[in-house]
Symmetry: C2
Subunit: 283 residues, 2 copies
């Protein structure tokens, strides 16, 4: 089967169903029209028109965070969204830009705010074979329970840096020693925009590779992954072609890895489509 | 200085200045409006309207190749374009698609036909340092004389495969033994679209990495490169920031290499722009 279908899955959204979420000149997200309607009841906070939702509340980031959170709590009580209550994402126009306020991770898709994560490919060379450590997600995960995952992955919470998130998740998810995790090399990013039940995932994943020694076997410590397997990279590609076993966005991370390491080569008729499809134009 | 400027340079074109070059339902290229006007004198070959140039000549690829070549010769005699007379590119809607006819490489930008090349990064690890073999182009090259280049690069002529072109160019440009060149790993592609004096470069470069042993020193045999230097990858990035010393598209190849090997990391404010900017959406 086509590998491009995974890119299509992660980019399935119709711009016409969404309106920009703005504060002044800054576009902070993309809100689905039905969700925008739900915000009309907070007229001191949001100005909802046919083509846009404006955040009109004034004040500093702390004041805005509280004000938006009060609206979010109402939506939670109506079961429109579910808060995570342990992870908070920064709301900014783009990576590194001014943080307007912070938002519970569960509310991020409702507002279609850009979210950032790190994914680590743990690989090992065994003879001429390239192998990848693949984790299996716990069955009680909110997102993609039971699906296959990268060895380490996590969202970048507010005020946490990339390296810090990577080291923390590497320790929690794979019991990876700091010394090994610090050898991870930044290798690029993938991005996608995908409608979900709640709204829109508007994600950028920063990617890292780490070559793991034969002495290292990952072991999960936080309950998010239930097992690990060292799979031949060619089998990972075959399994992506044949099944929906991997978490939706993990397919993109694996495809990027396979393209960078010659596991998927130019003889694949989808090659150029895959190379181009892993990144959305910046906007 | 900004690295993104190199991506902007390679993507400087205004769609409104071009019209599609079609044969039936297939779009084969993009012709600048002034060039389209020049084709009006060949009414049996091209149907030129305000919004399109249609190739209306009938026959098989061989017949079309001769017919278009007669028009090209007239344009050459008027110094609108210069034929290379030794390299011929396939004209097709996209990579791997049906070849409608073949075209002298010098005429490719006039018709804005997709052109494909291979670029090889030759690298070596010296201690903790990552080094890149960089060539210097001869001063008599038609394109980018005297500029810095990858160790091996070449256009993919009609009926030549990717691997074949890579091995041939590796032997000619760098005296790289076949055994070493065969170890090159496919690592992706970059694409760009750039107006030139003659028309439009509409290029895809297939990229390869090869780790060269300490015993190997490249040596040019075809006169296209005059010297090689083993440069620290960080110095390559610095030189791209500070100068226009590299051939325009070699900057993209180097940026892609630097992103994949952690030489440019996410701490660079341009990181996500660079990652996204190296590939045009397929169309």
């Amino acid at each position: 089967m086509s590998l491009l279908r995974h890119i299509r899955t992660c980019n399935a959204w119709e711009p016409a169903r969404f309106v920009p979420f703005r504060r002044g000149n800054a576009r902070l997200g993309l809100i689905r029209r039905d969700n925008a309607e739900r915000l009309r009841r907070f007229p001191k906070l949001f100005e909802v028109s046919k083509d846009t939702v404006n955040l009109i509340a004034e004040g500093n980031a702390k004041a805005l965070t509280s004000a938006v959170d009060r609206a979010v709590e109402e939506l939670v009580s109506e079961r429109v969204i579910a808060k995570w209550r342990n992870e908070f994402f920064a709301v900014a126009e783009h990576w590194g830009a001014k943080v307007h306020f912070t938002l519970d991770r569960g509310a991020v898709p409702f507002f279609g705010v850009k979210a950032y994560g790190v994914h680590l490919n743990g690989y090992r060379r065994v003879g001429s074979k390239l192998k990848l450590w693949i984790g299996k997600r716990a069955s009680n995960k909110i997102v993609a329970p039971g699906k296959l995952d990268n060895i380490v992955a996590g969202g970048i919470g507010v005020a946490h840096g990339l390296e810090e998130t990577l080291l923390k998740e590497a320790a929690e998810e794979a019991a990876m020693p700091k010394k090994l995790a610090s050898r991870a090399v930044a290798v690029g990013a993938v991005s996608y925009r995908m409608e979900t039940k709640t709204g829109l995932r508007n994600d950028v994943l920063f990617l890292y590779d780490v070559e793991t020694p034969a002495s290292f076997t990952p072991r999960n410590t936080d309950g998010e992954l239930v097992s690990f397997a060292l799979m031949d990279a060619r089998d990972v590609v075959k399994r992506m072609r044949d099944t929906e076993d991997f978490k939706f966005n993990v397919n993109l991370v694996n495809i990027d890895f396979a393209l960078r390491h010659g596991v998927i080569g130019p003889e694949d008729p989808e090659y150029l489509g895959l190379v181009a499809g892993l990144h959305r134009p910046l906007d």
